[in-house]
Amino acid sequence: MARIVAVTGNEAVAEALKQINPDVCAAYPITPQTDMMQRFAGFVSDGKVKTEIILVESEHSSMSACIGASAAGGRVITATSSQGLALMWEMLFIASGLRLPIIMPVVNRALSAPLNIHGDHSDAMGARDAGWIQLWSENTQEAYDNTIQAFRIGEHMDIRLPVIICLDGFIISHSIERIEYIEDSDVRNFVGDFKAVNPLLDIRHPVSYGPLILPDYYMEFMRAHAEPMAKVPKVVLDVAKDFEKISGRKYGLFEAYRLDDAEIGLVILNSAAGTSKDVIDEFRNKGIKAGLLKPRLYRPFPYAEVGEALKHLKAVCVLDRADAFGGSFGPVFIDIAASLYPYKERPFLINKIYGLGGRDYLPEHAALVLDELAEIVKTGKVKTFKEYIGVRE
């Protein structure tokens, strides 16, 4: 029996972590994540979990301790945001390179400078090519559900990779929503026991982690890392199927909202997808065929599936809550463009940067973008391929 509760995103993810009851957790405060690990520390203090917590002196040490703990042979978690994730950057690659299934919620927040504690996606985008799996969540329910599924995905014997679960800072982490908690026992059975692979603590079978590998073998090693990455989408779908059995909720690689017969569409991550869907309904009521694609598995990116889902549209706008500062487009746009490239007939593609540093994304923003897409379809002309919206010029 599901429990219906009114909770914040941080509270729900902390609850999922409690239900999973990991062996080790490393924690360091940073807004807006702080409250999640604080709650978890409370569970430790109250004996609600068996977890040993390491209250590290930095996020660099947090990820380092997670690496040591995971290689030792057990289930390991931490959580962070923004500068904390940036400070971990070096260690992110080492965690994935050593194939350690560490699970880390990232409460998305803008990156300095200037200092800003509010939600945008620049933190996780900076880590998107670090060899971690990334699951993105629109709301508190999805953040909770993704957290539970992340363990099954990362710890899968064909995968053994770390997983980041993204949820929007403040908008989701600190807002109360009605969600359903799954029974503890169902979560526990779903996630199962941790299976250690080459644990350091097995002193009878000593192993060396983290060798030097020079040009003679480095490339084979990297290729070997790409292989489990390629298997992730299938595992994500299999896990989602099992998850549906205990939750009744369906998950895919992405959500396709009214996309099948759509002519214009938005691609957007996380919480802003919710706002956008309402506006799409309004456009549908006016007889305009609008739809939306919300990526869930963002790394590895399911290029073929996303391309297939979007290729029939006439015009698509990718909304990015981070800029890539490469003199080009936002990060999600670049991925969508790549997924549509194989098709001869493909939609017009434009890019809007929105909501940086917690700037509100309003229904009128979505409406303006959809109007612009309709205009592009009508005229066959694109005025601007990329621009900032909801900004003072």
């Binding site: 062996d23 080790v24 490393a26 068996k50 977890t51 040993e52 390491i54 209250l55 590290v56 002196e57 930095s58 660099h60 040490s61 947090s62 380092s64 301790a65 997670c66 690496i67 040591g68 703990a69 995971s70 290689a71 030792a72 042979g73 057990g74 390991v76 070096e90 260690m91 080492i94 050593l98 350091l200 603590l201 097995d202 002193i203 000593p206 192993v207 060396s208 982690y209 983290g210 060798p211 030097l212 590998i213 020079l214 073998y217 090693f221």
Partner: protein, 323 residues
């Protein structure tokens, strides 16, 4: 039962750090590692900071380590082992593991005094049951002999080269052993491979103590010191006998000097055989030698005073009677 620390008994023990690794001939670091692992009468799991020891002992598909070993990065050997140790406590608490295991971190001076200082300080403060061993060769050797905060005053390195205007490193070494002791950890010590019995006794003592321990071990590097390949033990002995690398331990706040040379040798005895100090032996740089000697004298005097001040009551009384 503990293996007696005699050569006869120790020679019967399995060497858990194999020959065939790729450290330079005559390097001090592998000698130290061998002594440490020989001294341990428990299963040991080690972490290793990036540096000479790490890059030369585990080059895929080979490893010189017959114990479980992990290298993750340069600045985080302490944080990494703190994670391993925490998982150990967690699984032990859950009854999933029964072995009595000890945890040791190895880091070079760069990885310990400098870039890994925060991670080390944090792990010590948190109280993990671990022993951190710094092998101090006085520079970033792996990247080609750059200055670290452990580089001795006056030394010539590739980033503080003895030039026409600046005659080598112009700062004193950071006194890391004292800084670690100031964390109020139960055990901090300095050792040298020349005094192997002392070194191994300290490792043994450290491993018997619960909580965070730190050892700083001088590790001659013939490449960086520009000394003879067979001089590692001689030079580390001279460092001890000139009192520029005193052997002592600080146990629960009490300082004890574990070796006092009968006759304190002049510092130049240690400096002269090393190419990195060659420029000091010119008339215009005589003041540097003088200053270096003064620093050693001052630090030694202070250490003696600390020992006297913290000595247990009976020894103090005995000492005052003898006077």
């Amino acid at each position: 039962m503990a293996t007696p620390l005699s050569l006869k008994e120790l020679s019967k023990k399995e060497i858990l750090f194999t020959p065939g690794h790729r450290m330079c001939a005559g390097c001090g670091a592998p000698i130290i590692v061998k002594m440490v692992l020989l001294a341990a009468d428990y299963p040991v799991i080690a972490s290793n900071a990036t540096g000479c020891l790490e890059v030369s002992t585990c080059i895929s598909d080979y490893t010189a380590w017959k114990i479980p070993w992990i290298h993750s990065a340069f600045e985080n050997a302490a944080a990494t082992i703190s994670g391993v140790e925490t998982m150990y406590r967690s699984l032990k608490k859950q009854g999933k593991i029964n072995d009595e295991i000890k945890f040791i971190s190895f880091g070079g001076d760069g990885g310990t005094y400098d870039i890994g200082f925060q991670s080390l300080s944090g792990a010590m403060e948190r109280g993990h049951d671990m022993l951190y061993i710094c092998y101090d060769n006085g520079a970033y050797m792996n990247t080609g002999i750059q200055r670290s905060s452990a580089t001795p005053f006056g030394a010539d390195t590739t980033t503080c080269p003895a030039g026409d205007v600046i005659p080598g490193k112009m700062q004193q070494r950071k006194d890391l052993t004292k800084i670690m002791a100031a964390h109020n950890i139960p055990y901090a010590a300095q050792a040298s491979p020349s005094h192997w019995g002392d070194l191994m006794k300290k490792v043994r003592k450290a491993l018997e103590i619960k909580g965070p321990k730190f050892m700083n071990v001088i590790a001659p590097c013939n490449r960086g010191w520009r000394s003879k390949t067979d001089d590692a033990i001689t030079l580390s002995r001279l460092a001890v006998e000139t009192c520029c690398w005193p052997l002592y331990e600080i146990e629960n706040g009490n300082t004890k000097i574990t070796f006092k040379p009968r006759e304190k040798k002049p510092l130049v005895d240690f400096l002269k055989p090393q190419g990195r100090f060659k420029h000091l032996f010119t008339p215009e740089n005589e003041w540097l030698l003088k200053e270096a000697q003064e620093q050693v004298d001052k630090n030694w005097e202070r250490l003696l005073a600390e020992e006297a001040c913290f000595a247990p009551k009976e020894t103090k009384e005995k000492a005052s009677k003898e006077q």
